[in-house]
């Protein structure tokens, strides 16, 4: 049985279709990521699962029970907001203990649960502090502690890493993922950051304009996108697109290498790239070049790992290759994936 299901879930704000018919089935213990650009409806979708937003149409099912009309407190969900929403006037102890207090749990039992949760996340020495005395990372842990202490069936995380600085974010990402695996709690994680999604998700849902674009394992979504939106949204630098007939052919920058450095038995497709500009980023070299039938006249990018030592100079034309199996084909009109066409 799936832990969380949504059935044709819709939320319309007047003319705006924030969420427009989403069907989901999230498995027990899964780390499920909802990925999309800002304004795509991912937060609204999560708020409907939490019960903070009433759907215009459709149903939410948690643990096999239809909860569409139940208030948040009846849903066995916990949530961590982007802002962490720590109660500023309460100590860390009272913050973590609040969900238990709302359950009218006796004081002694509450204390032991709060202390146990705080120890799990390493915030036990902060229990007497107020939220304003905490760093960003500490706030995030306290918020997570408060979410976990009531032992929810589903943990909802709304961009919980986006308020941390870049270095801390990477560490917190790994920590959060390990924590989730350890507890095995069903987790829904909303983000606009494709790297977070790729790194953490068991499965990713890519959303655009209130609709589901694709659901699947990170590698599947990255290597086999069902449409142009998914293909261009994932990957940095973004996928290269070349026009041919009514078809767009896509290939990722890291699959696009100088002919000399491609050692493989696979069938290769060769093009000559007129190199325009080279950026050496240390770990990688980004080569930007012109191709005559590039989609919308954009520059074509190649991402060369540092082990590729060939000299690439701007203003020169080189032969670049891509494995034919790494080419992706999309219909130019609909943006949907299509069959391979002869080149």
């Amino acid at each position: 049985m799936d832990t969380v299901e949504t059935i044709n879930l819709k939320k319309h704000f007047a003319e705006v279709k924030a969420v427009d018919g989403v069907d989901l089935a999230i498995h027990e213990g899964e780390f499920f990521v909802i990925l999309g650009p800002s304004g795509c409806g991912k937060t609204t979708l999560m708020r409907m699962i939490a019960g903070l937003e009433a759907p215009t149409e459709g149903d939410v099912v948690i643990g096999g029970v239809r909860v569409t009309d139940l208030p948040p407190r009846m849903r066995e969900v916990a949530m961590v907001f982007q802002s962490y929403a720590l109660y500023p006037h309460m100590t860390v102890f009272d913050n973590i203990g609040f969900p238990l207090k709302a359950k009218k749990m006796p004081k002694a039992e509450r204390r032991s649960k709060v202390e146990a949760a705080a120890a799990t996340l390493g915030v036990e020495q902060l229990l007497d502090r107020k939220p304003r005395q905490l760093s960003g990372g500490e706030r995030q842990r306290v918020a997570l502690c408060r979410a976990m202490v009531k032992e929810p069936r589903v943990l909802l995380l709304d961009e919980p890493l986006s308020n941390l600085d870049a270095k801390l974010r990477t560490a917190a990402r790994a920590e959060l993922e390990m924590f989730q695996r350890q507890l095995g709690i069903t987790t829904i994680f909303v983000t606009h950051d494709q790297i977070e999604a790729m790194a953490m998700g068991d499965r990713i849902l890519v959303m655009s304009a209130g609709k589901v674009m694709q659901v699947g394992a990170p590698q599947k979504i990255y290597h086999d996108p069902v449409n142009l939106f998914v293909a261009t949204f994932l990957g940095s630098p973004t996928i290269n697109l070349v026009e041919k007939g009514g078809c767009l052919i896509g290939f990722r920058p890291e699959h696009f290498l100088p002919r000399g450095s491609a050692v493989t038995d696979e069938e290769l497709t060769t093009v000559s790239l007129n190199v325009f500009h080279v950026e050496n980023l240390g770990a990688d070299r980004l080569v930007y070049g012109e191709l005559e039938n590039a989609y919308e006249g954009k520059l074509i990018t190649a991402k060369l790992p540092s082990i590729v030592t060939e000299v690439i100079e701007p203003g020169t034309t080189y032969d670049f290759v891509v494995e034919t199996s790494n080419l992706k084909y999309f219909d130019k009109e609909t943006g949907q994936k299509t069959e391979a066409i002869p080149l």
Binding site: R73, A78, F81, S83, A85, H89, F98, K150
Partner: protein, 316 residues
């Protein structure tokens, strides 16, 4: 030629940058406020103290020092003691109701409903109305013969012969000791409620919406959210509303002066009206000043206490 051109520039520099000097500008801009406080607050306050320690009256304006004689004398009169007690009763009860009702109203007006703006505007009206006009309106409402309250009570069968509140056909609100006090308190509540509501509404609006959502997900119901989250967060701003309410009500003389003139007999006198009746109406300036000075320490203590508690619970 060069010499002549330089001299005016030099003199100009001395005054040209005067307005850039903070010490000069600061004092200049503070001057009106300082003058205002000295002339309109400091001088009258000093005069009140001088009057209260002398035997000055309207008829004999010479200031002869009599020590605390005036204070001793007014403390011995039942009118003063009644006014002192009334001031406290009216202020405290009125503010209790104001805070409770303002909380309820603010919670209602914080929610979205059709006609919200109209309702919000109406709730502000008592504050926008001159207090004297409002009180005159209430004077009609509490009229001994034509009171619309009496009329409604008669129509629904609560007032008149053989009814619960009968047998008289009128309650004569302002002619009866307790009812007159109630009437004064009602007008004060009516008067202060809009300001308190608007202040609390601003307080509620300043609470991060995420906190309320979070509390809901955490499993809290309405009352727990209100008691554990909203109230503590708006407490600092609520104490400001309370401070304003206490001071406005405690020092107000218009309501009692227009509604009951302190009557029946002197049963609804408060300190400001009694000071006026004694000092201006009765011509006994020294005793009037002594009565009025009783307002000062009480208001001072209230202000210090509430400002301090607001600071303590300040949340950043």
């Amino acid at each position: 030629m060069e010499q002549a051109a330089q001299t005016p520039t030099k003199t100009k520099t001395r005054f040209q940058y005067l307005t850039d000097r903070e010490s000069f500008l600061g004092s200049l801009f503070l001057l009106p406020a300082v003058l205002y406080i000295i002339l309109l607050v400091g001088v009258p306050f000093g005069m009140a103290i001088a009057f209260s320690l002398s035997d000055v009256t309207v008829g004999d304006t010479s200031l002869d020092y009599v020590g605390l004689e005036n204070f001793r004398r007014i403390l011995n009169t039942p009118q003063f003691r009644r006014a002192l007690v009334n001031s406290f009763i009216i202020t405290l009860i009125a503010q209790l109701f104001v805070i409770i009702l303002a909380n309820i109203l603010a919670l209602i007006f914080y929610e979205d409903f059709p006609g919200k703006w109209m309702a919000r505007m109406l709730i502000i009206m008592p504050w926008a109305t001159p207090i004297s006009l409002g009180t005159i309106g209430w004077l009609w409402i509490f009229d001994s013969k034509f009171s619309p309250i009496d009329w409604v009570l008669q129509q629904i069968g609560l007032l008149g012969p053989d009814t619960l509140l009968g047998p008289g056909k009128h309650l004569n609100y302002l002619g009866r000791e307790e009812l007159a006090m109630v009437a004064v308190i009602i007008v004060h509540v009516w008067r202060m409620l809009p300001l308190a509501t608007v202040i609390l509404l601003a307080g509620l609006a300043s609470i991060d919406k995420d906190l309320i959502d979070q509390a809901q997900v955490d499993g809290a119901k309405f009352w727990r959210i209100h008691r554990d989250i909203r109230l503590p967060l708006i407490y600092p701003i609520m104490s400001i509303a309370l401070l304003f309410g206490l001071i406005f009500t405690f020092s107000d003389m218009v309501v009692v002066f227009l509604l009951t003139r302190g009557g029946p007999i002197y049963y609804t006198q408060v300190l400001p009206t009694w000071a006026w009746f004694k000092g201006i109406d009765g011509g006994n300036l020294s005793e009037g000043a002594a009565v009025a000075l009783f307002l000062f320490p009480l208001l001072l203590v209230a202000a210090i206490l509430i400002l301090r508690s607001a600071k303590r619970s300040e949340i950043t």
